[in-house]
């Protein structure tokens, strides 16, 4: 009977990790559904530097100082407090109690640090909640943000409030730990509230907080896949694979290069006989990197709030583009789960999720790309969808057709004769 808690703990842990692995596999499969062209990903050391600087070092967060600093607190708290998980898991499996407390002063320093961060995270999260729900910051209130995205954002905050509180309460009700008086910086202040409790009650409370805390963490871990909170994992690969080129560079489609070479008589061989789609109308036409971008998006809306089209009231919202891509690839994923393969559902990213009006409003100014704290590129998706509109559907606004006819016929977007190119000097 004594082993029962250890067994229950191990079973819960295995089930939680098992579900997590299943979700990661599903994530991989969905991301690899993207068949579009990516730039060659070299193994430049710059990629590691970018990941360390942008994801680990949070270098772009403080562009918006308030949200940035609060985020860095929560992020550091998350990383640091989770060190304690090692002890919790060991205790859970082997039935020990505070396995590492024997290391003495260092243990007190660590737990003290965790407790300080726990209280800082609590404060930061409460401010986040206030910003989201009371200050009603504009970028949190576009149509796409209503419903699940709003609930998701709040749920994450509630999760964090509950987990941090449980962590502090679990320490506060641990009589043995309080008597050690080593690192109970914050919980030592809560302890007096429990003074009248019998040692038995305190033990039961401590166990309940301990169990709720670890089970809460395991639930949160499995919540990630369904949430924008997935960014805590995907921000790392996403910044690693982010473009190393000037953001002004838009990729040259290789299959088009082949076609143009043939047209210009530079080569006669066509290695593009396969069924080629130019541009993207659905998630399968996007690249795995673009789909990874979509799963990494935290819906913070910095892109949208800096987008000139959005600022001036146009329909385009770069964040919505990213959220639409994730919604669609999720829909496709569920379709595959159900049928074993992708059964045509007569739906497309273009039209059913993203409208032409949104796509044509973009000025390709790169503000969204510049703002993203984790190197997401909404512009590349907008451009790939425009490519589909032009090259597969020939559906461009009329003025653009005129512009392109002019370039084709006289080498300028306006109807002037190429022979007159030096007339400016008349």
């Amino acid at each position: 009977m004594e082993l029962l808690p250890n067994i229950i703990f191990s079973v819960i842990l295995i089930i939680a990790l098992g579900f997590f692995v299943i979700n990661i596999k599903r994530l991989r499969r969905n991301i690899n559904f993207g068949k579009g062209q990516t730039e060659t990903i070299d193994d430049s050391p710059q990629r590691w530097k970018n990941m360390i600087r942008i994801a680990l070092g949070q270098s772009k967060m403080a562009r918006r100082p308030i949200a940035g600093i609060l985020h860095i607190i929560v992020y550091l708290g998350f990383i640091i407090i989770n060190i304690e998980l090692i002890e919790i898991i060991i205790d859970g499996i082997f039935g020990t109690h505070r396995m590492f407390s024997s290391i003495g002063v260092l243990y007190g320093i660590l737990i003290g640090l965790f407790e300080i961060f726990a209280i800082l995270v609590l404060i930061a999260v409460l401010i986040f909640w206030t910003r989201r729900n009371l200050s009603r910051i504009k970028r949190f209130y576009e149509t796409k943000m209503m419903g699940w995205p709003k609930l998701d954002a709040d749920l994450i905050l509630y999760f964090e409030i509950v987990l941090m509180s449980l962590f502090l309460l679990m320490n506060a009700t641990d009589v043995e730990f309080q008597n050690m008086n080593n690192g109970n910086l914050i919980s030592g202040l809560i302890y007096p509230f429990f003074e009248g409790f019998s040692s038995e009650t305190l033990h039961i409370l401590e166990r309940s907080f301990w169990w709720s805390h670890i089970v809460g963490i395991l639930i949160f871990l499995n919540y990630l896949y369904y949430s924008k909170h997935l960014h805590i994992i995907l921000a790392f690969p996403n910044t690693f694979y982010g473009s190393l080129e000037n953001s002004g560079k838009l990729n040259n489609i290789k299959s088009v290069t082949n076609e143009v070479n043939i047209m210009m008589g530079k080569t006669s061989e066509s290695d593009t006989l396969d069924d080629i789609n130019f541009g993207a109308s659905d998630v399968k036409d996007l690249s795995w990197l673009q789909l990874l971008n979509a799963y990494s998006c935290t819906e913070c809306g910095r892109c949208t709030s800096s987008c000139p089209a959005n600022i001036t009231g146009k329909k385009l919202s770069p964040r919505k583009i990213m959220m639409d891509v994730r919604d669609r690839i999720e829909e496709v994923g569920r379709n595959i789960d159900k049928n074993g393969w992708f059964k045509d559902d007569n739906k497309k990213l273009l039209g059913d999720y993203i409208s032409k009006e949104e796509l044509w409003a973009c000025t390709s100014c790169n503000a969204c790309v510049e703002e993203c704290p984790i190197s997401i590129n909404p512009l590349s998706i907008i451009m790939d969808m425009r490519r589909h509109l032009i090259m597969e559907e020939s559906s461009a606004p009329n003025e653009l057709n005129n512009m392109m006819n002019n370039i084709e016929n006289n080498g300028a977007p306006w109807p002037f004769n190429q022979q007159d190119r030096l007339n400016w000097n008349e």
Binding site: M264, T363, S364, M404, N425
Partner: protein, 262 residues
């Protein structure tokens, strides 16, 4: 107005020589009346610094940027490959241009199609001339005056060039007064991504009007920029300012020409 001294690359070839650089003029600089004045201003600067430069004249054609950003990759690559053939046949090594769109396309998108050149925006080129002691700028006309600067997206965010144009404004002894949204946070003028050639989508306001509001808040009477399209958009956007708020939108090359009376 008298004609400026220019030579085509073909002229150079006929003389058996080659110029130090090619001046890629771009469609706006060739055909748009306002932008032609920017072209002339930069030619005056090149001539006063005794730079041997050539132009392509009738051999120049659109880089393909507006087609590419509209989504027409075919037309873009046709234009790009034709231009690269021309440039390579003249053995061009260095290119300077007054248009950030041409600059971005030739610099970033031509290399993988076989076009490799040293590409400069004219503000970078003028800085280079200053560093090499081949050209100098003195205050004069703009000494102590407030000038604000609008970052073109394709020079700024797209290519991380924020300092070259600012350095030139400082060389004019002018007081550079930044707009609220500047450098990597600069607001677009509304022309990029082929928007220049179409009506904008339905919204509350136009992007250039939004930018103009910010220009009005900044009390500078001169708005400097380094892009013919930004120039057009901002000139239009600021047109409606009351008499006492009127601003002048000028390219940095024009500021230098006026300051030096070239």
């Amino acid at each position: 107005m008298s004609r400026l001294k220019i030579k085509t690359i073909e002229d150079f070839q006929n003389d058996g020589t080659s110029p130090e650089t090619l001046f890629w003029i771009g469609c706006a600089g060739s055909f748009d009346d306002r932008a032609k004045r920017i072209t002339k201003a930069f030619v005056r600067i090149l001539n006063s610094a005794n730079i041997s430069f050539g132009v392509l004249g009738k051999d120049e054609s659109c880089t393909g940027d507006p087609a590419k950003r509209a989504g027409n990759e075919f037309l873009f690559q046709m234009q790009a490959m034709t231009n690269i053939e021309t440039l390579n046949s003249f053995d061009i090594k260095t290119i300077v241009t007054t248009c950030p769109h041409c600059f971005n396309t030739i610099k970033n998108e031509y290399p993988s199609l076989g076009g490799n050149y040293d590409v400069y925006h004219h503000t970078q080129f003028i800085n280079k001339l200053l560093e090499e002691g081949r050209f100098s700028i003195k205050g004069g006309t703009y000494k102590g005056k407030k000038i604000t600067y609008h970052d073109p997206c394709f020079l700024g965010r797209a290519n991380k060039e924020y300092s070259a144009p600012r350095n030139l404004i400082k060389k004019l002894d002018a007081e550079l007064s930044e707009l609220k949204r500047c450098k990597s946070k600069a607001l677009c003028c509304g022309a990029g991504g082929a928007q220049m050639f179409k009506e904008s989508e339905k919204g509350k306001t136009e992007i250039n009007i939004e930018r103009a509001k910010e220009i009005k808040e900044n009390t500078s009477k001169i708005v400097a920029t380094g892009c013919p399209f930004c120039n057009t958009m901002l000139t239009d956007g600021t047109k409606s300012f009351e008499e006492n708020k009127k601003v002048e939108v000028l390219d940095i090359a024009e500021l230098i020409v006026k300051a030096k009376d070239l």
